[in-house]
């Protein structure tokens, strides 16, 4: 998985490319832990994300909780496979998806 970060003012935009799973979720978690303090809002761009497993959902949930105390987190450009995972797991109701 490739993680690309872009800071626009107080918004942090993170683009993920590849697979967010047991192997790669710790990389995202590490990146978020290092960067979230400086951000008021977080945008996760999933345009190039192939799929997500429960290990990835765990990282999304903790990022969502951390950002809920600030300006919030949104997920954009979700593909069909990831979208189905969000629907089945109820994450579609928890996360802000655009």
């Amino acid at each position: 998985m490739t993680i690309t970060k872009k800071q626009n003012g107080t918004n942090l935009e993170i683009t993920l490319e590849g697979r967010l799973d047991t192997t790669t979720a710790p990389e995202l978690e590490k990146e978020l832990n290092a960067s979230l303090d400086a951000a008021d809002t977080l945008t996760l761009d999933f345009a190039k994300l192939d799929y997500i497993s429960s290990a990835g959902l765990r990282v999304l949930l903790s990022a969502h909780k951390a950002m809920a105390k600030k300006g919030g987190m949104k997920v954009v450009n979700v593909n069909e496979i990831v979208s189905e995972v969000f629907d089945v797991t109820g994450f579609g109701d928890i996360l802000t998806i655009e």
Binding site: T22, Y51, S53, S54, A55, H64, I81, V88
Partner: protein
């Protein structure tokens, strides 16, 4: 039948995934079904690596079968660890809010939803978990 054998370790998830993807590509499996199967491998092999041997080292096998007539792929996960039937786990409450949420049980729940059938048996001292996925021609 094709088989992969190795250590039940998290670092082997990519190797198991590559082994299965190779079989699926040879069958012209549609990308969506392949991704769903890859997620299932991450969840199921991940569970074995995490829990089957209680922190000790142990072996696992993954078998691939394809039934031509029904165009159904079956993948069997075998470990000799602690007897554990993940299908007996209660489904998670997917209506809870973010604050009340935990991730426990979500992986196997996703597998049950995305596969056509999931079966478990304990046989000859081994956990045997089989997932079935029917694939259309892509």
């Amino acid at each position: 039948m094709k088989e992969w054998r190795g250590k039940a370790a998290l670092e082997n998830i990519p190797a198991v995934t590559a082994f299965i993807d190779e079989q699926l590509k040879a069958l012209d499996c549609p990308m969506k079904a392949q991704m769903q199967i890859d997620v299932a491998i991450d969840e199921l092999f991940g569970n074995i690596a995490h829990y089957a041997y209680g922190g000790e080292s142990g072996d696992a096998a993954v078998r691939f079968n394809f039934d031509e007539a029904s165009r159904t792929v079956s993948i069997t996960f075998i470990d000799g660890g602690v007897p554990f039937n993940p299908l007996e786990q209660a489904d998670p409450d997917v209506t809870l809010s973010a604050a009340e949420r935990s991730i426990g049980g979500l992986g196997i729940f996703m597998v049950k939803k995305s596969m056509d059938q999931v079966a478990y048996r304990y046989e000859n001292g081994c956990n045997v978990l089989i997932i079935y996925k029917r694939i259309s021609v892509s």
